[in-house]
Symmetry: C2
Subunit: 278 residues, 2 copies
């Protein structure tokens, strides 16, 4: 594995690659969730590139940019063991200029749910992903795939839309959510949870399981499902429970194989999201 | 020459190209200015692709989108004679989706001068150019060049910035302004001018020549130059006269080989821009 700290070096490292590139963009603090993306890229692609960049433009005023967990040395070890070929760790100055062109998330889909709680968050996400796609594929690989977790479902949907709207030559590979043995969806922010908070947080994945059981019993209407889920999560602060189709349009009744149920909540000071794809 | 009316056909037409692509994006109504870009691309590149697309998102409310001159058949003939390989003429529906991601021009450079008179214009320009670059280079040509006239100097500067900010693998080739024998800079909008208006409009290029002569006499301060130019253009409505460096920062004194003097004016109902690179 080579560690590359500048865009120029990255361009040199990718100048003579043959075959396909599999790209896994991350903000570091890697866990089994990221590792599952890397492993899949390793199986499917000739060259695997991971980026670690805590992107400032996707954090809002008052969010945890400064205390976002950073574990560069551990992350390097994880990537090396996972047989990553190139680990790209640029600095902020290399990625952003002054008085930049900005990307604006779609007026509707970019500003509902996560977008309404974190206004402007997706602008920053799309901006950095667009930049990273262009940097990583600068030397025009034969094939270019990028791996994203389904946990950030709205982010994934918006990135897929960006690929369509801007005709990007990249294949987006959505990857399943990885959970701890107790059911909690993995997240770099889980480290913020106290022991007690963590126990409470388990009700999130339990509520999704409950929804899934209802659907298996052919109970498909949103109202009933949401009511049951609220019951399961009675001890935590729910920001929203939403039912959307795979295009992220809100729907009133589950459509099998075309729906996502989403939860956003706060447990103690920690914001947690989770979802299930039906 | 093949005429391609859809993105899918364009992708097929560019699937097995060898060598370099030279791309000339236009809104049609081709004149000698466009032709000079096409000719240069023809000399410098293996495959020449011209697009004709009157891009709605760069026209503001009340501007001339509906009456913008359209001359598809004449344009096809011009391209054919100029040995264009692929003429790309998509429809609006193919380029734009509903609830799109948008591109926002830089907050400062995108909203001064032309950007302040036509607020939002450059958002639309950058959006369509980003899309077209991605479409035309979808199949990863060995080399990709795009040709733009210096007449739209601010547009050119912003496109160069977009290439830098988003790490696009395209080489931007700025091309000199082409003028009629009487000095008027060519523009598709010149057809709107009456005979009398056209005579008045000639004072624009005369004022730039006057500026150029002053500079040769080592008179470099903006104030004197602008005053003299205003004198030459006394019979037309001047929107602005500006002095900027090549990065489009306003400056107070000409910097040789790093300056542009810009004029925007209205003659009758027609908005005309022109400039000179010092």
């Amino acid at each position: 594995m080579i560690v590359v700290n500048s865009i120029e070096e990255l361009k040199i490292a990718t100048a003579n690659l043959k075959g396909s590139i599999g790209f896994v963009p991350t903000m570091g603090a890697l866990h089994e969730g990221h590792l599952s993306l890397i492993k899949r890229a390793r199986v499917e692609c000739d060259t695997v590139i991971v980026s670690i960049f805590v992107n400032p433009t996707q954090f809002l005023e008052g969010e945890d940019l400064d205390k976002y967990p950073r574990k560069d040395e551990a992350d390097k070890q994880i990537c090396k063991l996972a047989k990553v070929d190139i680990l790209f760790m640029p600095t902020i100055d290399m990625i952003y200029n002054r008085d930049e062109l900005r990307v604006e998330a779609p007026a509707i889909r970019g500003f509902i749910l996560e977008g309404s709680r974190r206004a402007g968050h997706f602008n920053g996400v799309l901006q950095i992903v667009m930049k990273l796609f262009n940097i990583i594929s600068f030397n025009r690989p034969k094939e270019f795939k990028a791996y994203f977790g389904k946990k950030d479902a709205q982010q994934l949907a918006l990135i897929e839309q960006m690929v369509r709207d801007y005709f990007l030559n990249v294949k987006i590979i959505p990857c399943d959510i990885v959970r701890d043995s107790d059911g909690l969806a993995l997240s770099s922010r889980n480290v913020y949870l106290s022991k007690e908070e963590r126990v409470k947080a388990l009700s999130i994945s339990r509520s999704l399981k409950r929804a899934s059981k209802l659907i298996m019993q052919n109970i498909l209407d949103k109202e009933t499902i949401v009511k049951e889920m609220r019951g399961v999560m009675s001890e935590i602060e729910i920001e929203y429970i939403a039912l959307v189709d795979r295009e992220f349009r809100e729907i009133e009744s589950v459509e099998i194989k075309n729906s996502i149920i989403l939860v956003a909540s706060r447990v103690g000071g920690v914001r947690l999201i989770d979802n299930i794809w039906i």
